[in-house]
Symmetry: C2
Subunit: 167 residues, 2 copies
DNA sequence: TAGAGTTTGTTGTAGATGCAATCATAAGAG
DNA sequence: CTCTTATGATTGCATCTACAACAAACTCTA
């Protein structure tokens, strides 16, 4: 076991601030969406991901990858969204273990109505606080971190409903 | 209502990546600490904050501010830590509404043992993935965001005392 | 010193999440 | 073809968290 490489003062400050953002930002995202649209940020993101998919439809596993969620978590969230009439599940004909989730018209409406407020909130909380240069920096920093956090690059991978997931 | 300023492609990419980090990083932090030290990241952070405070003691409200937690959340976490013998609560003599939380010797030991693994994990997940320049950029970006998320500047304004147990 | 209003911390309750176990279906080995 | 293993999705259970209601103690005013 080698000795621990402790953090330099600069590293410590950077990490302290980043950890604070990690603690505060999710709540700030949820609270606006819950207040204005009765959606958590995760629910919104799932609906928005569906809205951009072909046929507004994705396999549950594919949606889980896009949203960085575990399958159990997504399954329960989908149950709620389905009860609210925003999505519907249907067994996949090609692989009867799998299911396709489809955004309903009501779900589409929901996303369309929620989007402006959410985008404004993302601007207020994040993008408008940063210079264009910093937005580029954030993008590269986050990409670098995802290399470790998400080795499969699921976030960037393609979003198709048919066919097996890319290995 | 003015028209929504939608995100440019660069902004969208940056935000998509940042949101993915927001979703994945907390779990990655928790999982190492839970596996190696039976602590959540939040519990570790609370203990570490206490370890750096004078007398290893803080008012509960002050600790909540340092850790960016709500009071109910912190109260319940402290109950757990107290049951585990890692901290103890004592009514403050000057203001009998308030309570001081103190890190016990066992709590100190716990932090000291957990710190190396946690720091290595922070390096593996974050700091070692970034150039020194990017660490500075991350620091400034996070600071800018905290200006909106944490207007009181609780993270910075508070007592940041040097101590043996680092972040 | 009485009382309104505040601050500090805890608790009731409901909803969210992760892990492990489970069920159903598919793919592969012999 | 049968049996074993792997995959897709859901559910049981324990834990965590937020919001709101609450209790206790402080402050300020008259």
């Amino acid at each position: 076991m080698t000795d621990t490489r402790w953090l330099s003062e600069e590293e410590q400050t950077a990490w302290l601030r980043a950890a604070a953002v990690l603690e505060l930002l999710p709540g700030a995202l949820d609270s606006q969406l819950l207040r204005d649209s009765e959606l958590t940020h995760f629910e919104y993101f799932a609906l928005a991901s569906l809205s951009e998919a072909p046929e507004r439809t994705l396999r549950i596993t594919a949606l889980a990858a896009l949203t960085n969620a575990t399958l159990p978590r997504l399954s329960r969230v989908l149950t709620g969204l389905e009860k609210a009439g925003l999505v519907k599940r249907a067994t996949c004909s090609e692989d009867r273990r799998a299911k396709n989730v489809t955004l309903t018209d009501a779900g589409w409406e929901k996303v369309v109505r929620a989007a402006p407020g959410h985008v404004e909130n993302v601007r207020r909380l994040v993008l408008d606080r940063l210079s264009p240069e910093q937005v580029r920096q954030l993008s590269e920093i986050a990409e670098a971190l995802l290399g470790q956090l998400d080795p499969e690059g699921r976030v960037f991978g393609s979003t198709h409903v048919d066919g097996p997931a890319p290995t």
